[in-house]
């Protein structure tokens, strides 16, 4: 670390510490050591440190703007040829992501003050959010794979704890379990890749890994199978984090957690996963198999997620599947070597999705209900929420000139010649997403008020303020994107492409507006529609497929091992023991005190011994 660097850059290691210190600062309230004045101070302390992180981040951006990208690292652990470092890559892209993470965290924390107003374990929530934020801000800045992995796993842990926040409810228990285990599968596969890379490439710095990957073809150190396995291992981690097929179940179940955490999960956490994938892409692309898998997974997630979201009656789940779908699009963009557009898409999607989830949270907070069939006619009662929801949805869908529209345009423009199939995937996803958003909007805000929505007031200012601010940000997003991506400009696509994107969005809106919505008959009586609805509503029966394959495989293996342990190994050990005990017991009875029987035994033994010796000699 050079002393000449400006102070904010020298202190860059503080950035993740802010979040983690928020966790530590909340502990006295979370554990109940301080009971006198309620848990609010923990929340204020967390807000304060997050604000510090935001300010520090913007100071760093200003410095980097002046002196160019920097690399800062510190030694952490060194042994033999292993050198693990804490490294920060201070490029404008990474810093923009950092600001995104910390600012979203700040907004969500203010929102949570309102949303979790009467929650008795508010301090625990803020402790977890601090932990969450610390890990995420480290991931986006990380300059080496080891640190990225380290922090990704911390994200897994904090997701588990946040989803399991209301741990006394049965659905929460299974949701937390599934969230942890699904991500853990991805993480273990990623760890295999990390360990292999560390052993074969030596360094863990991304830049050194890129050099190693560049020279690998020449050296032939790893066979094609090895490279494919490595690539597959590396993409598994981000797949789990971004809730991609077949590891997508957890995000939907994770909706059992508190809504402010859902906002973060659906916007920034998935972004972190995608950013790690982006950093790994130069290594992954060595393997055509891994790249193909990325494309296939992305396409299945995009279309499948969008379809499944159409059939959900749970308000939060209707959008969580949509997140899976959008991250599928991001995966396609990354796999096709379009990281710039992928970043823009992540950014646009993250902000708009967060806004959408804030609107959803407001409705849930006011009505204590998240069942679409029981909601309706809220539009006139909650105007700010309604507006936020519209802006958020418009920001996600490519129809109006908000964030996602430009991303779709750029994407379809680059794909129309090279990979027209994927351009169709994008347009189709756009269409389905528009349908879903319109459908949900209609059943939430239009129509007659139902019992649960008749007396629904607008939310309190702690929730309304972040929601309205974020609405303004989403509206201004295209201008910001224009500044981030100045060279070709975000409008550098042809008119037919723009028309195609708008048309796909428009068709979606029209379908969504025309599709019959009946609160009572939400499950259709027509057999074939019903079958289709069930198929989508139950996520193509993926949970059932899991239960019958992976889960039952592990369970059966475990039962088999237990059986072997009890019936083979334990009986063997017991058998030997019992045999000796039994022999001893029998011999005990033979102690009769009669000299004749002893002599007879000795005689018999001598004869036997001599006989054996004779046979042995003869043989």
């Amino acid at each position: 670390m050079s002393a000449a660097l400006p102070l904010p850059l020298q202190l860059i290691w503080l950035i993740p510490i802010y979040g983690f210190s928020g966790m530590l600062l909340s502990l006295p309230w979370a554990t109940g050591w301080i009971k006198r004045n309620g848990p609010r101070p923990a929340a204020y302390l967390n807000l304060l440190v997050t604000l510090l992180a935001v300010v520090h981040g913007s100071l760093v951006i200003r410095s980097v703007y002046d002196i160019g990208p920097q690399h800062v690292d510190l030694a952490w652990f060194q042994a033999a040829d292993l050198n693990l470092r804490i490294g920060f890559d201070l490029s404008l892209t990474n810093l923009a992501a950092l600001e995104f993470v910390t600012a979203m965290s700040l907004i969500c924390q203010i929102y949570a003050l309102g949303y979790l107003d009467k929650e008795w374990s508010l301090a625990r929530f803020y402790a977890l959010i601090g932990f969450f934020e610390g890990a995420m801000s480290g991931v986006v800045l990380s300059s080496n794979l080891f640190m990225s992995y380290f922090l990704l796993e911390m994200l897994t842990l904090s997701t588990y704890l946040l989803v399991g926040f209301w741990y006394a409810q049965p659905l929460v228990v299974t949701a937390a379990r599934d969230a942890f285990l699904t991500k853990r599968v991805g993480d273990v596969l990623l760890l295999m890749g990390v360990v292999a890379l560390s052993a074969f490439a030596g360094s863990m710095e991304f830049n050194d890994l890129y050099d190693w990957a560049g020279n690998l073809k020449g050296t032939g150190a790893l066979g094609p199978v090895g490279i494919s396995l490595l690539g597959l291992g590396l993409i598994a981690g981000p797949m789990g984090k971004c809730a991609q097929f077949p590891m997508h179940l957890w995000l939907d179940e994770a909706m059992e957690g508190p809504n402010p955490a859902s906002i973060l999960r659906n916007s920034v956490v998935v972004t972190c996963g995608a950013i790690v994938l982006m950093k790994l892409m130069p290594i992954v692309q060595l393997s055509p198999v891994a790249t193909d898998v990325l494309l296939v997974v992305g396409a299945i997630s995009a279309i499948g997620g969008a379809l499944v979201s159409l059939a959900q009656v749970d308000l939060k789940r209707a959008f969580s599947y949509s997140t899976t779908s959008y991250l599928g699009l991001v995966f396609i963009a990354i796999a096709l070597q379009l990281p710039g557009i992928a970043l823009l898409l992540l950014f646009a999607h993250g902000l708009a999705r967060a806004l959408q989830f804030m609107g959803v949270g407001s409705i849930i907070a006011t009505t204590n209900c998240q069942d679409l069939t029981e909601l309706g006619g809220i539009g006139t009662r909650m105007p700010a929420t309604s507006l936020a929801f519209i802006i958020g949805s418009a920001g996600v869908v490519g129809l109006l000139p908000l964030g996602s529209f430009w991303c779709y345009g750029l994407m379809v423009n680059s794909l129309q010649d090279s990979a027209p199939g994927f351009a169709v995937v994008f347009l189709l996803t756009n269409l389905l997403t528009a349908t879903n958003s319109t459908r949900v909007y209609r059943s939430l805000f239009l129509g007659e008020p139902l019992p649960k929505t008749k007396r629904a007031p607008e939310v309190n200012w702690l929730m309304a303020l972040p929601m309205v601010s974020l609405s303004v940000i989403v509206l201004l997003l295209p201008a910001m994107m224009q500044r981030i991506d100045p060279v070709p400009g975000i409008a550098s696509f042809s008119l037919p492409v723009a028309v195609a994107v708008s048309l796909s969005g428009l068709i979606g809106v029209v379908i969504g507006a025309l599709v019959p919505l009946d609160q009572f008959w939400s499950r259709s009586t027509t057999p074939w529609i019903r079958t289709l609805q069930d198929l989508l509503a139950y996520d193509f029966y993926t949970p059932e497929i899991y239960r019958r394959t992976v889960v039952s495989l592990v369970a059966n293996l475990a039962q088999f091992t237990r059986w072997v342990d009890l019936n083979v190994i334990k009986s063997l050990a017991d058998g030997v023991g019992n045999l000796s005990m039994a022999t001893a017991n029998d011999l005990k009875l033979s102690v009769s005190g009669k000299t004749q029987s002893y002599v007879l035994t000795v005689l018999f033994a001598i004869v036997l011994l001599l006989g054996v010796l004779q046979i042995g000699r003869g043989g």
Binding site: A79, Y149, A168, R177, R184, V185, V188, V195, Q559
Partner: protein, 502 residues
């Protein structure tokens, strides 16, 4: 004299407790024991300060000729491999003594045996002579057998006898190997320093090494020699389990490194591929068996079987990093399993059961055991290898050091690490999440929900040892360089020595 103090303090303490005239109350005996163990901990820390990490070989050596005719000398020494284990022993015996609050009979003998074990384990770690090591290795056996068979659970006689038989066989095999080494080399020099085995034919080396492997394999324990461990753990009292898992199993892995790898480097290199596979089988078997357990303590015991397999994998790979990982894993497993057993012990004491089918929702803040639950989550996450805690850096070093040599076995062991998350998550989810109830599930939600439980709160002083262990686990996970600073030179020398030979 410094190293002798590690023997003198606990052995004198044993004598004091046994010879103390009159009937003494439990509390006073406990305090005296804690005081003695604190002195032992201080002595261990003084040794750590005196220890020079830049020297590869044995340090602070002491030598007195004892029975030169049979090659038994009072010869002590310590290096980067044994020092961390001595520290763990001092710390965990102290924890064991502190958490002993309610034993129903003969507290005097109980605490005396605790001190005797601690001294014997110290002796085994710092012995610089094969026969002296064996003496201490056997010495630890009797008091532990007593601890299980006198202060154990309902089925204690069975478990204690099984433990005794298995460990006695282990001792015989090890003694046989040591004597065989003398027989084949024709010398009665049992000091550890010279590598005797290079004078032997490969066949003889392999036979001796196999005896060593089986002997220590029982102690570690490795599948299929593990059968004594789950029974011993389930029947032993909590402090004894803490000691057994945290310290005594390390005698096995220590012996494997010291008397397997270091004495027979050539034969070790021959057998290494097989050992790596054995390690992977042990890891997977232990993890899968743990998934199927419903007794919390048995589950933790099987997780020990799985996690000690990593040490064998690391030893088989025999690279500086993997061996360093082995030391880390020994320390990390000592801390983590001690914490797990301690917490299971608290649950057992408060609820009267360890059955995962019966316990639900213990995390409940008002009526349950919230702090115990929180620490349990930390402990299982550490055990599952989550970064920021001791388990992760240990496993990372083991895997990173082994993958180039044995890719398949390493990847299989990593699957075992994933399975650890499965069974421990099941444990936390079943016992700590959900609605608080302590009743078998009857498929009748109304019946299950009606039984309202109010558990006795856990006094803060009961949790201090657990908090200290948790802090140590996090500290080792975030600041691993302290331990590697102590061990690296010795470990690298150990790895290099065998490289030079082969």
């Amino acid at each position: 004299m410094l190293l002798s103090s590690l023997l003198l303090i606990p052995f004198l303490g044993t004598a004091v407790l046994l010879l103390w005239p009159g009937e003494q109350p439990l509390g006073r005996l406990r305090l005296v024991t804690i005081a003695i163990l604190l002195v032992q901990l201080v002595a261990s820390l003084v040794i750590t300060v005196q220890f020079d990490p830049s020297i590869a070989g044995m340090q602070l050596q002491e030598f007195h000729s004892w029975l030169p005719g049979i090659g038994l000398d009072y010869s002590l020494g310590i290096d980067g491999l044994s020092l961390p284990l001595v520290l763990i022993n001092a710390a965990l015996t102290l924890v064991s003594a502190i958490i002993t609050r309610d034993i129903d009979r003969r507290p005097r003998i109980y605490f005396a045996m605790l001190l005797l074990i601690s001294g014997a384990v110290n002796g085994a770690f710092i012995a610089d002579n094969l026969l002296l090591f064996f003496l201490f290795y056997e010495l630890e056996l009797i008091p532990l057998w007593l601890l299980i068979s006198v202060w154990g659970g309902a089925n204690k006689a069975y478990a204690a006898t099984k433990f005794l038989i298995f460990t006695a066989i282990s001792g015989m095999l090890i003694l046989g190997a040591f004597l065989g080494l003398a027989l084949l080399t024709g010398s009665v020099d049992f000091s550890l320093t010279p590598v005797l085995s290079d004078r032997l034919a490969m066949g003889g080396q392999i036979v001796l090494l196999l005896a060593i492997l089986l002997g220590f394999g029982i102690k570690i324990p490795l599948v299929p020699l593990h059968n004594w461990l789950p029974d011993a753990h389930t029947q032993a009292a909590t402090p004894v389990s803490v000691l057994l898992a945290g310290v005594l199993l390390k005698l096995g892995t220590y012996g494997l490194l010291r008397f397997g790898l270091q004495l027979f480097p050539e034969a070790w290199a021959e057998l290494a591929p097989g050992l790596a596979i054995w390690a992977a089988i042990s890891v997977l078997y232990g993890s899968l068996a743990a998934i199927a357990q419903t007794d919390m303590k048995r589950m933790v015991a099987f997780s020990s079987v799985g996690h000690m397999g990593y040490v064998l994998l690391a030893a088989a790979a025999n690279t500086p990093i993997s061996l360093l990982g082995a030391v880390f894993q020994m320390v990390a497993h000592g801390l983590i399993s001690a914490l797990l057993f301690l917490l299971v012990g608290i649950v057992y004491r408060k609820t009267g059961t360890r059955d995962l089918k019966v316990l639900h929702g213990l995390l409940s803040p008002e009526k349950g055991l919230p702090l115990t639950g929180t620490l349990m989550i930390l402990a299982v996450m550490a055990s599952a290898g989550l970064p920021g805690m001791a388990g992760f850096i240990s496993e990372f070093l083991v895997f990173r050091g082994s993958i180039a040599a044995f890719p398949v076995a390493t990847l299989l062991s990593m699957v075992g690490s994933g399975l650890t998350a499965v069974y421990f998550l099941l444990l936390v989810n079943r016992a700590f999440f959900g609605r608080l109830s302590i009743t078998p599930n009857s498929d009748d939600p109304i019946k299950d929900a009606r039984l309202d439980v109010q558990l006795a709160p856990v006094a803060p002083r009961e949790t201090y040892p657990a908090i200290a262990l948790a802090a140590a686990i996090v500290a080792l996970g975030l600041l691993p360089f302290g331990l590697s600073y102590l061990s690296e030179t010795s470990i690298t020398a150990l790895a290099m020595q065998s490289m030079g030979v082969s």
